[in-house]
Symmetry: C2
Subunit: 255 residues, 2 copies
């Protein structure tokens, strides 16, 4: 397919590279910031555009990968002659694209992308939605070129996926950071918990996390909970987080 | 060394197996519950004991691996002729063993153990403490038989390690469970976030988690935060957790 990428962030970069590698032509990269457009365009052998009037109007597919709040603004500025218009957001409804093309859709890869690290797109689940059956079919086929796990999902399911991902990824990473800080404060290295992090994630690949929960909260080990609370008492914010999550684990274990 | 294991839970099991495999003799397993003592003893080619008066009194090392609250109670019942007495707890001080042996210590492997899964002990950090220099040296040597990462740590450092581990392991696993439930509620499979979990943990192996934090909270993506809050409004407990952790991420990113 002939594709125009609108956006130049992590999702646009990794998705653009995967689509190109699968044999599609990335015709153009648009970004509000010219240097960003040029940078990604050079990686994708595409032309660059930094204003809406320079955007190619007869591509097969337009992929909007910008911050959620900017999606409908970008869509409303497009004047397309043909092609499917999609966004890649977990939390934005398909209706954000209404009026900008007769064929719209969502193409949502559920993964955390960062500049620092490449990912194997084949393992990334892609949730697809189309304004009509043909569009949905086209997007499913495109997804299957780059991923082994492509499926239809509506706005609500996609939003649930996104929130699940925030808990399983963003929030867990924040806890890694809290662990890192606690160790640093006591002149200990973050390497100490790295095997534990790997093991916890590896367990979740093979088991239901509910079945393998460990720690003082699920054991009801009041002595340890008390000693941890005592240790954290000078950091009221951390203590509050500790209590909230321990309580949540307790309740979960009683279901 | 000739070793007696006091306790038969996950830590006693995995540690006992590793020590045996490294060439030590596990003489005996004691547990309050006879069937538990017999079960682990059979794995370790050891004898089993379920009362304190049957415990061998001339071993080289006694390892107490029981719930933290029970450690000092078990220690106080021992009448040893010789040998080092240690516990394996992150949060319990070495003084819990006072009066039960002239040589005491702590041998704390920082990992999450479960019956379901074997672990490679060589990668597990072991924090060691001894009541005197000789005891500390002996425990360091023993640790090095089974792990590549053995080091001295005092009570406070060990407690910081344990709390860091609770955040990095127990609490993150609980968030995996929350993700699993959210997906189930919307007829979606937990497999969807498994690649994300693996990727997030893999990133933490190579980078500082602080540097690779992603998600709406760290981006300051207010639109997404608002839509997530709207989605969660019928589950006040989850919404509260969502808000607390998003705020904590925000603050962290502003340091």
């Amino acid at each position: 397919m002939n594709i125009v990428m609108l956006g130049s962030g992590n999702v646009a970069t990794h998705l653009g590279l995967a689509l190109k590698q699968a044999g599609n032509n990335i015709l153009q990269v648009w970004s509000r910031t010219e240097s960003h457009a040029l940078h990604l365009a050079s990686k994708l052998d595409a032309s660059a555009a930094d204003s809406f009037d320079k955007i190619i109007t007869d591509a097969d597919l337009y992929i909007i990968s910008v911050l959620d709040d900017a999606i409908s603004g970008v869509a409303s500025r497009l004047q397309l002659k043909k092609g499917i218009l999609v966004h890649t957001s977990g939390t934005t409804g398909i209706e954000a694209l209404n009026g900008s093309s007769s064929k719209t859709g969502v193409f949502y890869p559920l993964q955390t992308f960062s500049k620092q690290k490449t990912v194997d797109f084949a393992t990334i689940p892609i949730a697809v939605q189309g304004s009509d059956r043909d569009t949905a079919e086209t997007l499913l086929s495109l997804g299957k070129q780059i991923s082994r796990n492509v499926f239809l999902a509506d706005d609500k399911q996609r939003r649930a996926m996104h929130i699940a991902a925030v808990f399983a990824c963003n929030f867990t990473n924040h806890f890694y950071t809290i662990a890192e800080e606690m160790l640093e404060q006591h002149k200990l290295d973050f390497d100490l918990v790295r095997p534990l992090i790997a093991e916890t994630a590896a367990k979740a690949q093979a088991f239901s996390p509910r079945a393998v929960q460990t720690g003082p909260a699920v054991r009801g080990d009041e002595g340890t909970l008390k000693r941890h609370r005592e240790f954290l008492k000078e950091n009221s914010e951390l203590l509050e987080l500790y209590d909230k999550i321990s309580t949540s684990i307790r309740k979960q274990s009683e279901i």
